[in-house]
Amino acid sequence: MSNIALGRYIPLDSLIHKLDPRMKIIAMFFLLIAVFVPAGYPGYGVLGVFIVSVLLIAKLRLNFIFRAMKPMAFMLVFLLMINVLVLRTGYVLFSFYGFTVYSDAIYQTLYITFRLALMIMITTALTATTKPLDLTLAIEDLLGPLKRFGVPAHEIAMMISIALRFIPTLIEETQRIMKAQASRGVDLKEGKFKEKIMAILSLIVPLFVSSFQRAEDLADAMEARGYVPSATRTRYKQLKRTLKDYIMLFVVLLLLGGLITLAFVV
């Protein structure tokens, strides 16, 4: 579990960590749009430099970012193969066994690789510097205007935050049940197909039973403490925008504007 780098919060003390999560989400959206502005390699260069500096300001180590990108490697190799097979434009780079590789195939693949890398870096810059709980609060706030149209913004946020709260508990529970069933001779690695099905059932059924029990208990506890989903309630964690947040968003918009100019005007 601890090897997953993508989407993980890294508790550090930096300027980026302190920014308002709502503004960070908005900025992330603008930056994602910027990735798709066709400003060519110079544009990606500018964007790349910007995001790497953000990550450095956030005190994140760059090898952490590389780890976050690892799961994409397989996809990129696959993409390269497809491109080599399909794209037959540009000049001939080399050929082997009667098979010709054109420059556009490489060019295209590199292009997509850059885009993907940028997108991962942008989202990582958000998730690594923002507590999951703050993210849910921000999502609740940002979805707020949609309440009018029946979007249950508060309920969604509450669901996400409870899910986050119970993930460690459920992991612990799963490990406990796995050990208990291992003591009864369950072997997830070996055995025939039917045995494997039984092994999986012996984990899932108890996990479901106990999760339902927990859910019921939790609902009781929440209700007993006066929680009514539809009622108005105040919020302990107040999100605050400061001048820094506006400056950050301004810089991002400036960058986006610059890239658009580069792409369409120059």
Binding site: S2, R176, K179, S183, R184, G185, D187, S202, V209, S210
Partner: protein
């Protein structure tokens, strides 16, 4: 000695910031054919210790001898089935491991996994259900519909049906009412006396240690600080005080009497004997 820990250390999540040494060079030999209590505060390593007995955890360092096996860090988790067949481990709140449609099927699950025939598994299941005090008439019911106490007995039957030589139980009476825990402890005594199982019980209840166990292991901060017979243990007032152990009622009462000038002989551990001893002193 068939069960022994030799300089066993265990570290959770080694090499990470969360790394935690749960066992530190534990040396310990468990006497076969007895009931051994494992006591100590929460976080002292009791649960980690017992999980080594059927290789759910493998020592980070040192080795564990269980019956004819030696478990070390290097031992690949293969051929572990033969070990787990001989050492049955019942976790805390085992009622949560029930999953089959019927009580009978659930109890048969373990034996079937260990290669016992369907027929034999069924026979064993019916027998063990009777041993743990479950009426065979509910064998076809869903285990999920039964009371908490019944579920726990069925879960224990599920381990017993594997017919292990050693039975290890992690806080088997947690959450039970007083009569429920009393009859649970009596069941373990029966399993030990009548079926000759070696029993290890992780517990916080000193009354249970005094009334039902032969030996006691005290864990503290990942180390085994003492291992002796229950009799010796509860006679060592200084040690009990040092380890901050709550003295069982009978012994506490005896101590109070001694302070008031009535000293009774050693070795009294139950209510009846205490009452008789008192009567013997008061009545001519």
């Amino acid at each position: 000695m068939p069960i022994a820990f030799e300089k066993v250390s265990y570290t959770y999540a080694p090499g990470t910031p969360f790394s935690y040494a749960a066992l530190k060079e534990v040396d310990l030999a468990i006497e076969m054919g007895k009931i051994t209590a494992i006591i100590g505060p929460t976080g002292s390593g009791k649960s980690t210790l017992v999980q080594h007995l059927n290789a759910l955890l493998q020592p980070s360092d040192g080795q564990v001898l269980v019956l004819d096996r030696i478990i070390t860090h290097a031992d690949k988790p293969k051929q572990l089935k033969s070990l787990r067949k001989n050492v049955g481990l019942v976790f805390q709140f085992p009622e949560y491991q029930l999953f089959e449609e019927t009580v009978l099927k659930d109890v048969m699950f373990g034996p079937l996994n260990f290669g016992v025939s369907e027929e034999e598994a069924k026979k064993r299941a019916m027998e063990t259900l009777t041993v743990v005090g479950i009426d065979p008439s509910i064998a076809e019911k869903s285990p999920l519909d039964l009371s908490g106490g019944q579920k726990r007995r069925i879960a224990i039957a599920g381990i017993l049906a594997i017919d292990p030589k050693v039975l290890v139980l992690d806080e088997p009476t947690a959450g039970l009412d007083p009569q429920g825990s009393k009859s649970m402890m009596q069941l373990f005594t029966q399993l030990n006396r009548q079926y000759e199982k070696t029993v290890l019980i992780v517990t916080h209840d000193m009354e249970h240690v005094l009334n039902y166990c032969d030996n006691v292991v005290v864990m503290q901060d990942g180390k085994c600080v003492t291992h002796q017979t229950v009799k010796e243990f509860f006679n060592d007032g200084k040690l009990l005080h040092e380890l901050n152990i709550k003295v069982p009622n009978v012994l506490r009462f005896k101590e109070s009497l001694a302070k008031g000038g009535m000293s009774l002989p050693e070795g009294i551990s139950d209510l009846q004997t205490l009452a008789k001893a008192i009567a013997g002193r008061i009545k001519p």
